[in-house]
Symmetry: C2
Subunit: 113 residues, 2 copies
DNA sequence: TTTGTTTGCCTAAGAATCTTATGTATATTT
DNA sequence: AAATATACATAAGATTCTTAGGCAAACAAA
């Protein structure tokens, strides 16, 4: 089972920010693979969605980039800027709150990490 | 604090289906008020988002409607069709699963209902 | 060695869906 | 009488995703 992209939409940016928070720096392809791996294939980010999002976050000043070459192939690493670090905290905290609200609204049982 | 609409986007339909599941039948304005009330003002559905969504769900055959008049003012009640009842189960279950996945991905602590 | 798969970046047309603004009207409260 | 709340709805524009495609290097398999 793969989650409908509808659900992922609103959370994509926060997911990216959280991963960068934990991993320091990552490149686009790595992010898609990591998310797939961490979610047991349930969340599959498409490149068509991910790259524009990364560019947008960079444009907003939350991410900075550094390009590296592996042989002749480019890798563009993204990492949090100072602003991005603080914004990512806000985002994650908002998402936590949202999940709690949803849970109570929907009367769902969730696993407790 | 009001949740960014970005977060709500993917869950709007499921929220509507869940409310109708619990309440039998509801009209649009009532849904906006109920959601606001149940979430402590944190989720505020706009009519511009809600009405098209209701119409879409009706079009998909998940909802049926009955119009009632309170004096001269119209109320359009929505309720789950048989298909809607079964789809709402799926949706809610998917959302539960998604929330659990997100929680583990983001390493969040959630309240346990 | 050449074919297929994976890695790795990217953009663009079209689709979907929301925001914001507006329209219309009745009912209720101040 | 005026302001607010109730109640429906649509439309232009914005945002963001899907789908499809493009380019190319590295690696595995045949």
């Amino acid at each position: 089972m793969i989650f409908s992209s509808e659900l992922i939409k609103g959370t994509l940016k926060t997911i990216v920010l959280k991963l960068l928070r934990d991993h320091g720096k990552m490149y686009g392809y790595e992010i898609t693979q990591r998310v797939k791996e961490l979610t047991g294939e349930k969340i599959q980010l498409t490149e068509g969605a991910l790259y524009p999002t990364l560019h947008a976050l960079e444009q907003e000043g939350l991410l900075k980039t550094e390009v590296e070459y592996i042989g002749k192939r480019m890798r563009k690493y993204y990492s949090l800027s100072p602003v991005g670090t603080s914004k990512s905290k806000e985002r994650i905290s908002e998402l936590t709150d949202f999940i709690n609200t949803l849970t109570s609204l929907l009367d769902l049982k969730t696993r407790n990490a």
